[in-house]
């Protein structure tokens, strides 16, 4: 059977089992796909796989509005890691979520330049190994002056639509520093110093799981994940932390008061 048919069966079985109130997945919609909560008894024949979407963010919204809901979700590797980071930051209660693990195909991996295209438990699909991001390798060959020129050119195209921030599953702060005029001047484009992008990059450290949703959302095609991938590598080298790897590893940059833990 095709991967899509297997996934539809898996979603239908979970819905029929009575364990969940609904399953979050993608369905065919203009122009290609849109998130949809399949309810028990729903027809799953319009369930689709691609293009992927920021499903962890949608799940967060659903659970915030319905804290008692028990939800299923089709999770790719990046989406499982996204959920794990959200859970560690008290945004999502994983006890309410049943995951159907979906391994990405080689084509999907290549589109995302993904180093980790499979979840910890694969229910549907076959595991393919991750690849190193060629754009990151190219970037590392640049001199400091070339890097300045490269990012200056990229950030000059930014129209400050905030799509990267809005699409990011890990951007869940109720008050966002990027909307504070003290740091990021509103309604000003092409500012000499790329404060918006550097602050956002800094805030992704030890949270970004490399789902590429920011880059996919960007109308100016700025290769944002190159910067975030470099920082993710730095976080692993300096802090030993890989976002989304395990729900048991504490986020290294979260400050706790002594004795605050446990409780």
């Amino acid at each position: 059977m095709e991967r899509l048919d297997l996934l539809r069966d898996a979603v239908k079985n979970l819905l029929d089992s009575g364990q969940v109130d609904g399953v979050l997945a993608l369905r065919a919609a203009w122009p290609e796909s849109a998130p949809h909560l399949f309810r028990p008894g729903d027809d799953v024949s319009n369930l689709v796989l691609w293009p992927k979407y920021q499903l962890p963010k949608i799940l967060d919204l659903l659970l915030t509005a319905n804290p008692e809901a028990r939800l299923g979700m089709v999770t790719r590797g990046c989406e499982e890691r996204g959920l794990i980071e959200l859970a560690k930051h008290n945004q999502v209660d994983l006890a309410h979520v049943t995951q159907i693990g979906l391994a990405c195909t080689a084509e999907e991996r290549d589109l995302c330049r993904c180093a980790w295209p499979y979840p910890s438990r694969i229910d549907v699909g076959d595991k393919v190994d991750g690849i190193a991001d060629a754009l990151v390798a190219d970037h590392e060959k640049l001199s400091p002056e070339e890097r300045t020129a490269f990012w200056k050119q990229q950030f000059a195209r930014c129209i400050k639509c905030y799509a990267c921030r809005t699409a990011c599953p890990q951007c869940f702060c109720e008050t966002c520093v990027l909307e504070d005029n003290l740091w990021v001047q509103s309604a000003a484009l092409g500012t000499p110093f790329p404060a918006y992008h550097l602050i956002r990059a800094y805030h992704t450290v030890a949270k970004c799981v490399g789902c590429t949703e920011c880059e996919r959302a960007c109308p100016a095609d700025i290769p944002l994940t190159v910067l975030y991938t470099l920082l993710r590598r730095d976080a692993e080298e300096t802090l030993g932390y890989v976002p989304g790897r395990s729900v048991d590893e504490l986020p290294p940059l979260v400050v706790e008061l002594a004795g605050d833990r446990g409780g």
Binding site: H139, S143, P144, E145, E146, A149, A156, Y202, D234
Partner: protein, 52 residues
């Protein structure tokens, strides 16, 4: 981590310094600020306004 971020976008990380000085160490505070000011001045202005 901030220094690493700056190096990725081609800004010399020596333009940033984090140090700890007690409120009772006035001389040390002056020394740290003086040294760092000289260090940044030696690097010159950050030419962010130059057109690409």
């Amino acid at each position: 981590m901030l220094r690493l971020l700056l190096s990725h976008v081609g800004i010399n990380p020596d333009r940033v310094k984090l140090d700890w000085v007690s409120s009772s160490e006035a001389n040390r505070f002056a020394e740290v600020v003086r040294t760092f000011t000289e260090q940044v001045r030696a690097l010159g202005p950050l030419e962010t306004r130059r057109t690409a």
